[in-house]
Amino acid sequence: MIELEDVAYSYGGGELLSEISLKLQPGSFHFLTGPSGAGKTTLLKLCYGALVPTAGTLRLFDVDLRTLDRDGIALARRRIGVVHQDCQFLDHLPVADNIALPLTVSGRDTLDEVANLRELVGWVGLKDRADALPPELSGGERQRAALARAVIMSPDVILADEPTGNVDWDMSQRLMRLLIELNRMGKTVMIATHDLALIRAAKSHVQTRVLRISNRRLQLAGADL
């Protein structure tokens, strides 16, 4: 699905990531951890084509990223649901419209899809907040809305960047349960987090692979995780 081979990424003259090789298999569940500034967000951005590697090969759904034009990247992104750390929304649109945005931009906002949208809004527990504007939501509600938006196109891969960063423990557990549920539906999930407790809690519910970025390189985390 997403494959990185000896990928490096440099920014401002310095190398941020080096010799990264990773293959996200269908239905797999990955955690990506490491200290702040290690390059977790950069690696996720590489995985959905927001950044282009400065060296190595990155394949999105078996196509070399370098051969994709901007339309090609846009189409690939429709197969990847992204939950951002800062939950980017269009603040002038209600939550329901924000969640439906991937359908809108891909021209799939049909009646059937709208019915799915209602179901999805209920699934993430935002039925009563569907008409609210994003700035009116709490941190947890924003994260759940972002997750709903990420999965509305039924993507093959879900990439989440610190999805529990701004919420309390109960809410983070709730969000993790949603992500695990999606993985059980066959979705590939990769979550970037520095919350080791969250990783330990999740490991008891789902088979995961924990990766750590250290000294610009990606390695399998130790047995302590």
């Binding site: 927001a50 901007r70 339309d71 846009a74 189409l75 992104r77 429709r78 992204v82 951002h84 980017q88 929304f89 269009l90 603040d91 002038h92 649109l93 419209d97 945005l101 991937p102 809108t104 931009v105 891909s106 906002d109 938006r149 196109m153």
Partner: protein
């Protein structure tokens, strides 16, 4: 062809949901409406100027090209004889439809603006004037002058070329100036709309990154801006066009004597020309916004 027409219809019909993804921005909306209205107002005047000068050039060209004047200055005793000789020469010259001696009353009328109504034409040594009207391809002016110099020594042929050419040239230049003004107006409007579109795109960089995050193609993002600016330009230009036409209507009626300034306006079917201003403004806005959006989206990659 059918598919292209379908795309255009879809574009005009728009997508209400897609239009909402870009938040309205008051400043750029006002700038586009105002500049389109102002430019359309000026465009109507430039059009009126171009068409009026065009008419003027045609009229001067046609009227003056078909007639000439023969002036006979001869001593008192020879005037009648030389006039008759001149008429004979003219009647036998190919390309001349008619030639007639101007009556004393007509000559008095010609001199009236300078000497007043009671000029004693009979007692003054005024040259005799013969009006010559051409036909077909006209006559050979050089050949006629040669014949006249031999047979009517006091005759001077004025085929109006000397003073018709600068007049027609002046009218042609005014017409060119009108079209140039139209081009400048279009260019200025494109520049202003580009500025407004750039400002709107910069103000919405966060919106653009969200749209890209969820898989929007650049063409989709650009279209949201294109539609908005094109419709604003169309509405603004329509308003400006109506005001411009009203202002042209309010100008003084055309002077039957052919005064230039009072003839500035539209006549007959030329009133349809201003209707082209709003759609042309919309096309200019569309192209300007598309270029600005393409540049910005490429730069944001």
């Amino acid at each position: 062809m059918t598919e292209e027409r379908g795309n255009v219809i879809n574009w005009i019909a728009g997508d209400a949901q897609a239009d909402r993804v870009v938040p309205p921005t008051g400043f750029t909306a006002s700038l586009t409406l105002f500049s389109a209205a102002t430019m359309a107002f000026l465009a109507v005047f430039a059009l009126a100027l171009s068409l009026a000068t065009s008419r003027l050039a045609d009229r001067w060209g046609e009227e003056l090209a078909r007639s000439s004047t023969l002036r006979i200055s001869a001593p008192e005793g020879q005037m009648t004889e030389q006039t008759a000789a001149a008429l004979r020469v003219l009647e036998s010259t190919p390309g001349i439809a008619s030639a007639r001696v101007l009556e004393k009353e007509e000559q008095r009328a010609l001199l009236e603006p300078w000497f007043g109504p009671d000029l004693p034409v009979d007692s003054l040594p005024i040259p005799r004037l013969i009006e010559v009207i051409e036909e077909g391809e006209g006559y050979d002016a050089s050949g006629l002058r040669l014949r006249l110099s031999e047979e009517v020594p006091g005759a001077v042929l004025d085929d109006h070329t000397r003073w018709r050419r600068p007049l027609v040239e002046a009218a042609d230049r005014l017409r060119l100036l009108g079209w140039l003004s139209l081009a400048l107006i279009g260019g200025t409007m494109a520049a202003m709309i580009t500025l407004a579109a750039n400002a709107a795109l910069a103000a919405n960089s966060q919106v653009i990154s969200v749209l890209r995050l969820v898989g929007a193609r650049d063409s989709y993002i650009a279209r949201a801006f294109e539609r908005r600016f094109t419709l604003r330009a169309l509405i603004g230009a329509s308003g400006g066009m109506v005001l411009g036409c009203g202002a042209v209507l309010a100008l003084p009626e055309a002077d039957p004597a052919g005064g230039f300034l009072t003839g500035l306006g539209f006549q007959g079917w030329h009133w349809l020309w201003p209707l082209l201003v709003p759609p042309v403004a919309a096309v200019v806005a569309f192209l300007a916004t598309r270029a600005a959006a393409t540049r910005t989206l490429e730069a944001m990659t």
